[in-house]
C-alpha cells in the first residue's frame, strides 16, 4: 500500500529571498505546503529597550534603523507621536516638507519592492531598473541631509533644513521622469507573461481574513478594503491634497503588486501638489533643549509604505521615555504567511513572502 508522509523543510535564516534573516519552517506534502511557521528574532536588536535609556532626541536615529528602506516615514511617525504628547505645534511649512519627503521615500520603498520581487521570481534584470531609479531619490536625500539611508531629517518640532532651489529642481526633474520609469517597469515586468502566471491567482487573502489579522497598508488595500490613514485619519497636511487610494479585487499576489505600482503615481501626485503649495514661514517650532513631556501616554499612527506605523509612548515626566512600544506593520503583516502559503507550491512561498514585503529590521525590532 502506498502512503505519503509530510516532511519539514527549513527555509532560512540565510536564504536569498527571505529579505534578511527570517527562518520559515515549512511542512510539506510532496511539493505542496501543508503548514508554514515564520521563526523570528534573528535580528532582534532590542530597540524598544534601548530607547528607554535615551532622551527623546536620542531615540530618533533608532527609528531610522527600524524600517531601513523608508526611514523618513519612521522619523515622521515617531516625531508626530512625541509632538502630540508634548503638545508642540508644527509650522505649516514643516508639515509640507515632511509630506514631500515621506512620499518620496514611499516611492523609493516601493521601487525596492518591485526590484526584490523581480529577483525572487528569477528576473534578475528586473532588479537593476528600479534600483537605478531609486538612486535618483537617494541623491535628493543626500543633497538634503547627507545620508543615503539613515536620514533623521524629520526632527521633533519640524525638519532639519529647508529646501534649496537645487533640491526643488532635482525633485521636479525626478517627477517629470517618473512616468517613463513606470512605463519601463510595465514593459519589462507587468506585461511579461511568465511574471503574470506566477502572480495571478496565487496566495489569495480575502478582505475579511486580512481585517481579522490586523493587516494594514497596501496588503489590506489589495484585498479590497479601503483603509488608508492618510485619508481615514488625516494627519499633518494630507487633507490639503487630492489623491486616490488604489484598491485590489481578489487579494492575490498580482493585486499586491499592482496596488503598489499604482501607489507610486499617487505619491507623485501628492508631492507635486505639495511642492506647488509650500507656504512661507519657519521650518521648526520652538522646542526646549531638554524635552520633558507631561506625564501620560499616547498612541499615534501614521501610514508607512508597509502599513500602519504606530508609536505607543509612556512618559513619566522625565527627559527619557518610560516605555516605547512600536507597532511595526511588517511584523503584523507577516502573520498572513501561513494563509498565503497553505495549499500552494514551494515556489509560491517565495512569491508570497516577497509580496508581503517584510523588512526584518522592523519585524524583529
Amino acid at each position: 500500500m502506498i502512503k505519503t508522509e509530510t516532511y519539514q523543510l527549513s527555509m532560512g535564516p540565510v536564504h536569498p529571498s527571505t529579505h534578511g534573516v527570517l527562518q520559515v519552517l515549512l511542512t510539506l506534502d510532496g511539493e505542496k505546503v501543508v503548514d508554514s511557521v515564520p521563526c523570528m528574532g534573528y535580528l532582534h536588536r532590542g530597540i524598544e529597550k534601548l530607547m528607554e535609556a535615551r532622551t527623546y532626541f536620542q531615540c530618533l536615529p533608532y527609528t531610522d534603523r527600524l524600517d531601513y528602506v523608508s526611514a523618513m516615514n519612521n522619523n515622521f511617525s515617531y516625531c508626530h507621536a512625541v509632538e502630540k504628547l508634548a503638545a508642540i505645534d508644527i509650522p505649516e511649512k514643516a508639515q509640507y516638507l515632511r509630506v514631500i519627503m515621506a512620499e518620496l521615500n514611499r516611492i523609493a520603498s516601493h521601487m525596492i519592492f518591485i526590484g526584490s520581487l523581480a529577483v525572487d521570481i528569477g528576473a534578475t534584470t528586473g532588479m537593476i531598473y528600479p534600483f537605478r531609479d531609486r538612486e535618483r531619490i537617494l541623491d535628493i536625500f543626500n543633497e538634503l541631509c547627507g545620508a543615503r539611508m539613515t536620514y533623521s531629517y524629520i526632527r521633533i518640532g519640524g525638519v532639519r533644513s529647508d529646501l534649496s532651489s537645487a533640491i526643488v529642481d532635482m525633485i521636479n526633474k525626478f517627477l517629470a521622469d517618473l512616468p517613463s520609469m513606470l512605463d519601463e517597469y510595465n514593459n519589462l515586468l507587468t506585461g511579461n507573461e511568465i511574471f503574470q502566471h506566477r502572480l495571478k491567482g496565487t496566495s489569495l487573502l480575502s478582505g475579511e481574513q486580512a481585517r481579522r489579522l490586523g493587516i494594514t497598508g497596501p496588503m489590506l488595500r489589495a484585498s479590497g478594503i479601503d483603509y488608508d490613514l492618510r485619508k481615514d485619519n488625516t494627519y499633518s497636511s494630507y487633507d490639503n491634497f487630492e489623491f486616490s487610494v488604489p484598491l485590489g479585487k481578489n487579494g492575490d499576489n498580482w493585486d499586491r503588486y499592482i496596488v503598489r505600482v499604482k501607489e507610486i503615481s499617487e505619491s507623485a501626485k501628492i508631492i507635486r501638489q505639495a511642492l506647488d503649495g509650500i507656504p512661507d514661514g519657519q521650518i521648526t517650532a520652538k522646542v526646549p533643549k531638554v524635552l520633558r513631556p507631561p506625564k501620560g501616554e499616547i498612541y499615534d499612527t501614521t501610514e508607512g509604505p508597509r502599513g500602519e506605523v504606530g508609536y505607543h509612548i509612556v512618559s513619566d515626566g522625565s527627559a527619557k521615555p518610560y516605555r516605547i512600544h512600536i507597532r511595526r506593520p511588517s511584523f503584523i503583516n507577516l502573520q498572513a504567511l501561513n494563509i498565503l502559503c497553505k495549499g500552494y507550491l514551494v515556489g509560491d512561498v517565495v512569491v508570497a513572502m516577497s509580496t508581503i514585503d517584510p523588512i526584518l529590521g522592523e519585524v524583529d525590532c
Partner: protein
C-alpha cells in the same frame, strides 16, 4: 641556475615567469565570489553596490553566490545578534579555503548604535576572523568597493600585513 635560464631563447619575449603562489594570488584577488547574505540595513547598500550605478562588476566581484560552498568572500552586512551567531559561524565554516571576511558597517565592526543592547554581538570578530573592517552606518557603496580593493591588496601582498603584526 635561475628559472629564467631554462626558458628557450625563442620564448623569452613571450613568456612571463612567476611562482605558482604568485599566480594564485593574482587570480584570487581578481575574482572574489561573495556570499549572498545580508543581515540588515547594510545589505541594502550591498545590493546598491551590485546594481546599475556603482556596478561592482567593473572589479570582477559581482558573482554573488547563494551557497557558502561556492563563495570565498563573506561580507557580514549588518547587525549580528547572539541568536544569529551560530548560523553565521556555520556559514563561515562551510566556505572552502581560502576564505575572506569583510565586516561592513558599525554594527559588524563593534556593535554600532546597538552596542549596549542585550541581544547584539559587539563585533563579528568575536565570532569569526575578519580581514577588512568598513566603518559607516551604513557605509556608502563607494566605501564597500574601497574595502574590497583593500582586500585585493591584502591578498596580493600578505607580507605587508605580517610585517605590521610583528
Amino acid at each position: 641556475m635561475e628559472i629564467v635560464d631554462i626558458v628557450p631563447d625563442v620564448l623569452k619575449n613571450n613568456v612571463m615567469i612567476t611562482t605558482i603562489d604568485g599566480l594564485f594570488k593574482w587570480a584570487r584577488s581578481n575574482s572574489l565570489w561573495p556570499l549572498t547574505s545580508g543581515l540588515s540595513c547594510c545589505a541594502i547598500e550591498m545590493m546598491c553596490a551590485a546594481a546599475a550605478r556603482f556596478d561592482l562588476a567593473r572589479f570582477g566581484y559581482e558573482v554573488f553566490r547563494p551557497s557558502p560552498r561556492q563563495a570565498d568572500l563573506f561580507i557580514v552586512a549588518g547587525t549580528l545578534t547572539w541568536k544569529m551567531a551560530p548560523p553565521l559561524k556555520r556559514l563561515y565554516e562551510q566556505m572552502p579555503n581560502p576564505k575572506y571576511v569583510i565586516a561592513m558597517g558599525s554594527c559588524a565592526n563593534e556593535g554600532g548604535p546597538f552596542a549596549d543592547a542585550y541581544s547584539v554581538v559587539p563585533g563579528v570578530d568575536k565570532i569569526i576572523p575578519v580581514d577588512v573592517f568598513i566603518p559607516g552606518c551604513p557605509p556608502r557603496p563607494e566605501a564597500l568597493i574601497y574595502g574590497m580593493l583593500q582586500l585585493k591588496e591584502k591578498i596580493r601582498h600578505p607580507e605587508i600585513i605580517q610585517k605590521v603584526k610583528k
